[in-house]
């Protein structure tokens, strides 16, 4: 039996968080090279942030969300601030679990992640359009959002089966 969260050392968690974010960013960079520009690809950074906000909520603070968003912008070569604003907007709206009381159970969590992805997609579109001065194409972003939700559901379902009752915990 594992020790309660508050008695465990935070360092393995911090290392896990940083490694998973790094992997998510690298996968995005490699996927763009492999499948070519414009090919929609799941947003693994958003998935990693959300999973860690469930496993260790205190780690996923607004500054970390900001840095993850800026790193995503740097890796994708886009103007700085687009994904940072999108992630901040999404986590401001969709992360408060006390408000919706959904905990880490799979169904409500999936619903919350869908809202989170929708807000992040809209936020990225709005910020990207504001930055470039032209309305960004929404089709690619929506496809990317849908793929992200599907991948998250697949992960969550697999974890939920393994853990019998809860996902990502």
């Amino acid at each position: 039996m594992r020790a309660p969260l508050d008695q465990r050392s935070p360092w393995p968690g911090i290392a896990g968080l940083l490694i998973s974010l790094w992997l998510a960013l690298s996968i995005e960079a490699v996927a763009a090279r492999l499948f070519g520009s414009g090919a929609p690809f799941p947003n693994f950074v958003l998935i990693a942030l959300f999973i860690w906000s469930i496993r260790r909520p205190f780690f996923v603070s607004p500054p970390l969300v900001l840095v993850a968003g800026l790193a995503h912008d740097l890796f994708s070569g886009g103007p700085l601030g687009i994904w940072a604003l999108a992630y901040l907007a999404a986590f401001t709206i969709a992360r408060d679990r006390e408000a919706d009381g959904s905990g880490a159970d799979f169904g409500p969590m999936a619903a919350r992640f869908t809202v989170l992805t929708a807000v992040a997609t809209l936020g990225a579109w709005a910020a990207g359009s504001a930055s470039t001065g032209f309305p960004a194409p929404l089709g690619g972003l929506i496809t990317e959002g849908v793929l992200t939700i599907l991948v998250f559901l697949a992960f969550g379902w697999a974890f939920a089966r393994r853990k019998e009752r809860t996902a990502f915990y």
């Binding site: 414009g38 890796f75 994708s76 103007p79 700085l80 601030g81 470039t132 032209f134």
Partner: protein, 312 residues
């Protein structure tokens, strides 16, 4: 299980971040977004981005090499059964091209003699800088590539980048060992072009689609589908005559360009060290005022005739 669930509940109840923290982060992200607008980029951010690309270069190169091999394997595997037929066609082409090679050599010699006689100065094609693309930094908001040549290889911001087939874009965010190439398809790309056949001028405007549009063509442009589009050099950003693509009409009746560089994946590219003609205001003519003596112009004030070279 009970302990784990109760721990989880404790954890959930304890996590609340200050609204001020969110507000500060929002303000920072907004400031970055404002400062890093593509049309008016804040120089230190551009330098930071270039340094970041430099730092990431070894990792991206490591990842890229097996991917490049894998990517090159695809077309070969798919076209394995067509190789014999293609080989036969290529032999015929080689026979035909031998005749053209002789014509080209003869013209090259004549061209060199004319240049000598006319004392034409043009860009030195031999100075082109070879680079590999190591990352495809493209998203819904930007179309760019990362290449493994930077300031150490004499790359400067704004240099044209070409591949075997045509113009790819121009360099922005030049780091020590890497540079970012803004593709012709990017929202912020504007290049002066013309039709090779009729010299009809236009502006090639990227709109993040695969086929950038031709703007400012005039009321009745002398343009036909399939016309070869090349850079005109009118914008003093690109040399004249770099091949760009073919004119096509989209479903809405607008002129667009099917880019030549999209024929194959962009791997090997050349950076063209093109120095724009200096503005007369920035580079005034030095005139020695004397007693009726003829004005003397310093050699630096005489611009190279880039156009004559580009047409070749």
């Amino acid at each position: 299980m009970v302990q784990r669930r109760s721990a989880r509940r404790r954890d959930e109840e304890g996590v609340r971040f200050s609204p001020w923290l969110f507000a500060i982060c929002f303000a920072l992200a907004g400031a970055f977004l404002y400062a890093d607008r593509p049309d008016r980029r804040f120089e230190p951010l551009s330098d930071f981005r270039a340094s970041f690309n430099d730092a990431m270069l070894p990792l991206l190169q490591t990842v890229d090499e097996p991917l490049r091999g894998f990517g090159n394997m695809g077309p070969w595997w798919r076209r394995h059964f067509e190789l014999a037929e293609e080989n036969r066609a290529l032999r015929l082409q080689i026979a035909e091209l031998r005749a053209w090679r002789d014509v080209a050599r003869s013209l090259q010699e004549r061209n060199a003699r004319y240049r000598e006689v006319l004392d034409v100065q043009g860009p030195d094609v031999g100075r082109r800088i070879t680079a590999w693309t190591v990352a495809d930094q493209s998203s819904d908001f930007v179309r760019s590539r990362l290449i493994d040549a930077g300031a150490e290889d004499r790359v400067r911001s704004g240099y044209p980048v070409v591949n075997l087939y045509g113009l790819v874009g121009r360099t922005v965010d030049v780091g020590r060992q890497s540079s970012r190439v803004l593709m012709l398809t990017d929202f912020n790309s504007r290049i002066a072009v013309m039709a090779d056949r009729s010299n009809a001028r236009a502006l090639l405007v990227g709109d993040n689609s695969d086929f950038p549009r031709l703007d400012y063509l005039g009321r009745d442009p002398d343009l036909l589908p399939g016309d070869r589009i090349v850079t005109s050099g009118d914008d003093n950003v690109m040399p004249r005559g770099l091949p760009v693509g073919e004119a096509v009409i989209d479903r809405d009746g607008r002129w667009r360009v099917a880019l030549y560089h999209r024929v194959a994946p962009i791997d090997l590219v050349w950076v063209w060290p093109f120095e724009p003609v200096p503005d007369p205001a920035d580079d005034p003519v030095s005139v020695l005022e004397g007693d009726g003596a003829a004005p003397v112009v310093t050699p630096a004030a005489v611009p190279d005739d880039q156009g004559a070279e580009g047409e070749g």
